[in-house]
Symmetry: C2
Subunit: 357 residues, 2 copies
């Protein structure tokens, strides 16, 4: 069957989750873990973080390939290496990052219940998808959640001409009362790597300050930037504050890598990943209702800001993603033909019923 | 005696610390607290963070004025409001931010010794000077230190034309073995407010992306920017990633303000400040030596990056400040005539021996 790679199909997220979970099961992942991994991927698609969703779920890429090749273990022995009252180090045993991340955050939450705070580092994991999933695990427990991961080398330090570390994202989630939770999920680069892909596909240029070319000169061509793999830290240039984005990326590498023993910035083989999770129990500090009411006041204060000329409104982090998730849960997740093809191919190869269109 | 405001005098940091401490004592601050407050201020001057040092120590400004006016309490009853195994909320009772911050970080460290992690929020404090002091308290304990504070409203959200929050800095310090510790201490704006002052004094222009004018249009004139008090979040513009700087600033406000009850972003009276401190005990995760050796490897990897054309070297966060502190400890701290005048005036008004020149 011929596929138009640019054609968009709306797919029901429940069906999509079941399909991806079924595929993981066929790849020898235990049912409970398969469901978790599928939930993380589809939540990214629901929230509009398409670069971290099922676009990576096809026979030639990432999770499926890694499980087939044995680079990733379908049934890892995730185990505690170090344990204290409010902290732990988990070894992910080369498992699926999403499953390891989910477990690690659960452990952080359990520790926070008892101690006020829980911090869990993870070594020997793999790509864990969208950070927001893990930070948001804290929300129903009336906790603040934090999730970070290191990533493969493709970012230059300020004044540097060679990639030394990854896009190292930081995610932070805090609950509100009537307002949507505050959720910031950001790569510590000016722009996430996926944005180059989007610009390249559109034939658009990218702003200076996003990336360098292969001679380490600023470029506005996304294809040249994709080839060079030299992203700039948040701030773009020294005078734009890129030493701050660079510093934040190393902060993430220290917590996810140096504290855990999986230092991606020092690894030529970029597959292993380290993560870092924290849960903060709000009522260990302040009554939950007072906190949530002040969150509402803060969020409303921000939203009430008069916009600059040419803009309609001021947003709060997470707002757009929650709105997108609500809409996509109703009308379906828009998937490109190329993504649909990947899913179909997975279905065919693994012999699972395909019912997404 | 006539003073040349631009003339520079080199001042011994021991003498300067003793002088400032003596002045605090004359202002009814107990000797131990006076020494702490003086140490924090002079450490900023030593490290080259001149905006947060004794420039603020003169009869008309900040600490001295606040103590005289009764806005700041010289002998506050700093007390614990909430306490859990690994967390606490401290009420600063309107005391000196430096003294409260020091105590709060000590408490975080004590909790981390027992639990692996300690987190302490602070309400009802005042300006605490340089964040790096507190994060660095963790280093001799083989811990990672984190310090944050909220600040008075002078930053616009992305797409916003009105100031809604402060420069809300984040500081993170981690020890190394033979290398200098990694210390990032950054305002979440593109440029700290003090940089506008420096540019204005020099008659230089500032880059677009630092600040807006009174009509919320981008400006390159630092005097116009100082008057408008509309700084831009790190990233500068939406395409430069300012939604990330904005998100980080609110992350800081949530931890320092909403979690503690001192939400500066909602306060017209901008004096009260909230802080947030964390200490992470390294060997709760991994043997300290392994951690420090990997820190050395990471730092050397970063420093070994080939620089771009026109640059001599790639720095690691904290390096310049440690080099500056070493030099200034040897040759003295260079103080402007205007700063010297402020110190002399304090000496005269409080009747303390002045021996700095």
């Amino acid at each position: 069957m011929k596929i138009d790679a640019q054609h968009i199909t709306l797919v029901d997220h429940h069906k999509l989750t079941r399909f991806v979970a079924a595929a993981f099961e066929k790849l020898s992942v235990p049912p409970q873990d398969a469901a978790i991994a599928a939930n993380v991927l589809v939540l990214a698609d629901l929230r509009g973080v398409d670069t971290h969703g099922v676009i990576r779920f096809n026979p030639g890429s990432w999770y499926v390939k890694w499980l087939r090749d044995g680079e990733m273990s379908p049934a890892p022995k995730i185990h505690i290496v170090s344990d204290a009252r409010s902290s732990a180090l988990l070894d992910g045993d080369r498992g699926i990052g999403m499953v390891i991340g989910h477990r690690a955050m659960e452990l952080a939450i359990e520790k926070a219940k008892v101690s006020g705070v829980g911090m869990v580092g993870v070594c020997n994991s793999r790509h864990f998808g969208m950070s927001a999933y893990y930070a948001m695990q804290a929300l129903p427990h009336d906790m603040i959640g934090i999730a970070m991961t290191n990533a493969g080398r493709q970012v230059v330090p300020t004044f540097g001409s060679e990639a030394r570390f990854g896009t190292n994202p930081i995610c932070f989630a805090a609950p509100a009362q009537k307002e949507l939770p505050f959720v910031i999920d950001m790569a510590t680069t000016t722009a996430a790597a996926g944005k180059l892909e989007v610009a390249a596909r559109r034939g658009a240029s990218i702003p200076l300050g996003w990336a360098l070319d292969e001679k380490a000169q600023p470029t506005t061509d996304p294809r040249i930037a994709q080839k060079a793999r030299l992203l700039l830290p948040l701030g773009g240039t020294r005078e734009g504050g890129s030493h701050k984005g660079y510093g934040l990326a190393i902060l993430v590498e220290i917590l996810c890598g140096v504290l855990t023993g999986t230092v991606t910035a020092l690894n030529q083989n970029q597959d292993p990943r380290g993560h870092f999770f924290a849960a903060i129990k709000i009522d260990a500090f302040r009554p939950v209702n007072e906190f949530k009411n002040d969150m509402d006041r803060l969020i409303n204060e921000l939203k009430s800001t008069r916009p600059i000329e040419g803009q309609e409104r001021v947003y709060v982090a997470g707002e757009i993603e929650f709105e997108t998730a609500k809409r996509r849960a109703e009308i379906g997740i828009p998937l490109l033909g190329s993504v649909i093809k990947g899913l179909r191919d997975v279905g065919q190869q693994l012999d699972i019923a395909y019912d997404l269109e």
